[in-house]
């Protein structure tokens, strides 16, 4: 009998009873005065600094061309890549001819269509342009620019962000080290400019853009649970398109108040690092952000601005301790690219990781190679996470609150989550007959 079995059969009932009892005594005091409306559940603690340490001597701006999308061939080898892509094409046709659920024409078409809005933007391009002539500024309206207090402005931003589709929103002072040093072959600089701009050699962010608005967009868990298929890819692509709409709308709103706004999704800088600083969630074993409300099934984006805003704090909801013992994502990863280490470390796995911060670093080339192998990407690590829940029953909230307060129960919760069948892949063929809500998400989740 291994450790999991021991917990499963030995302490099942007792642990559940303890969990229920303690959760009922969860701290109901407001977590932070500034987050009363757009705040987290009461069991989430605000902390002054993110839990995972940063080595200030090492941590610096990352060259985005080193990420897995920019340098996969370099990491994997040109011949290996050619072979991988050829096999992927063949497998794609084979699955199609077999009419395999999740890989049929309609599934592929859905995943592809999900990208349709996302493809309208890129780093300082289209919907993610750093300046815009289409909206009316206060000057054009003949009035002064918005001059509310930082607290009032933060409230406006959070309301507008939610209105444009954000699941959660947080604000932080911008740590420039989170911004890429280079991207799309151009250096990114900070200068004392009045407006952001781009020329032949560089992209320039004004020094005055001191605030970062971190935003999360909920993905459809019903889609992600079908991973790895085109149905789960549709969950991701749709998430990206909704990010595109969100940052474009929010940036235009800020410009309408008379301030600079730089919208960004995965470009420009690390949305995960900014999200951690802004208190959207904690860094998990997947080296991605995990939120208390939705677990990892969110896409992240951000807007940089010079509009003075009241900032939020990083959060602690016990995730670090949970990830240390759970390891469900690492066990489920078909490419074996997630770390099984008990503790996060400063040891990176390769150039695709930005060194200088503690994390469970992933083997990104293995992950991306599996995306090609599966022919439809992969997001298995998302639905298997015990924090990925639809929250239609109170037990999930009880477990989350108990885990936040009593790390000793984490292993038990992880094992029981598996025993109750959570995280098992769903039949992609049945997705088409689900009676899904708009965008495939429950927009009331995590809103109290």
């Amino acid at each position: 009998m291994n450790r999991r079995d021991f917990f499963k059969f030995g302490f099942g009932g007792a642990g559940l009873a303890v969990g229920c009892g303690l959760a009922s005594g969860a701290d109901n005091s407001p977590s932070s005065s500034g987050r009363s409306v757009y705040g987290h559940p009461s069991w989430v603690k605000m902390i002054p600094m993110p839990k995972l340490a940063v080595d200030d001597k090492v941590y610096s701006r990352f060259n985005a061309s080193n990420n897995i999308f920019g340098s996969f061939t370099r990491y994997y080898g040109i011949e290996n890549r050619k072979k991988l892509m050829q096999e992927s094409r063949e497998r794609r046709i084979k699955y199609y001819l077999e009419k395999r659920p999740g890989y049929r024409l309609e599934d592929r078409a859905l995943a592809d269509a999900g990208w349709v809005i996302s493809r309208l933007g890129g780093l300082n391009r289209g919907t993610r342009a750093w300046t815009s002539k289409s909206g009316r500024t206060p000057e054009q309206r003949g009035v002064e620019k918005y001059n509310g207090s930082p607290e009032e402005a933060a409230q406006l931003i959070k309301a507008a962000a939610r209105y444009f589709g954000a699941a959660t929103v947080g604000i932080t002072m911008l740590d420039r080290r989170h911004i890429h040093s280079q991207e799309r072959g151009k250096a990114i600089f900070f200068e004392s400019a009045n407006e952001p701009y781009e020329d032949e050699e560089k992209l320039v962010i004004p020094d005055k853009c001191k605030y970062a608005i971190a935003l999360s967009v909920q993905m459809s868990l019903d889609n992600l649970q079908c991973s790895p298929t085109a149905i789960s890819s549709a969950g991701s692509s749709m998430g990206y398109s909704r990010c595109e709409f969100l940052v474009a709308g929010l940036a235009q709103f800020i410009r309408g108040l008379g301030y600079v706004a730089i919208p960004s999704v995965n470009d420009l800088g690390s949305s995960v690092a900014i999200g951690v600083d802004a208190g959207l969630g904690e860094l998990g074993r997947t080296n991605r952000l995990i939120t208390p409300e939705f677990g990892p099934y969110v896409r992240l984006c951000k807007v940089l601005t010079d509009l003075p805003l009241a900032t939020d704090k990083p959060i602690d909801f016990g995730l670090l301790e949970f990830c240390k013992v759970c390891k469900r994502c690492a066990e489920a990863c078909p490419a074996n690219c997630l770390s099984f280490d008990d503790q996060p470390s400063f040891q990176v796995k390769g150039e695709w990781n930005n060194p200088g911060h503690r994390a469970w670093f992933e083997d990104a080339p293995k992950c991306y190679a599996y995306w090609q192998e599966s022919t439809s990407g992969c997001s298995i690590c998302i639905p298997v996470c015990p924090w990925s829940k639809k929250d239609k029953t109170m037990i999930h909230e009880i477990v989350k609150a108990s885990s936040a307060k009593i790390p000793a129960l984490d292993m038990f919760f992880s094992v029981m989550d598996e025993a109750f069948g959570y995280g098992r892949p769903k039949d992609a063929g049945k997705w088409w007959s689900l009676n899904l809500p708009e965008y495939g998400i429950d927009t009331t989740q995590g809103k109290g």
Partner: protein
């Protein structure tokens, strides 16, 4: 109570306090699993739904059985 020389005897059996506590716990336990069962159904979590439904039904049947057993035992006495 007398009627035409006949007597109707009303027996009031008072349960002890801990029996009432057990009944309340049992009802709360049933409510918890009923809510879990319905929630799992809404979440389309088949396995969680089946497990919670089995626990709910087992708890319900066992509770009713114990109650009936106690009732019959007292009746005999």
């Amino acid at each position: 109570m007398a009627e035409k020389g006949k007597f109707l005897v009303v027996k009031i059996r008072k349960s002890t306090w801990f029996v009432w506590v057990l009944r309340v716990i049992w009802v709360l336990w049933l409510l918890f699993w009923a809510e879990f069962t319905l929630g799992s159904w809404k979440e389309l979590e088949k396995r969680a739904f089946i497990i919670s439904l089995v626990i709910f039904l087992w708890s319900l049947v066992m509770g009713l059985f114990l109650w009936l057993w106690g009732y019959l035992k007292h009746k005999k006495a």
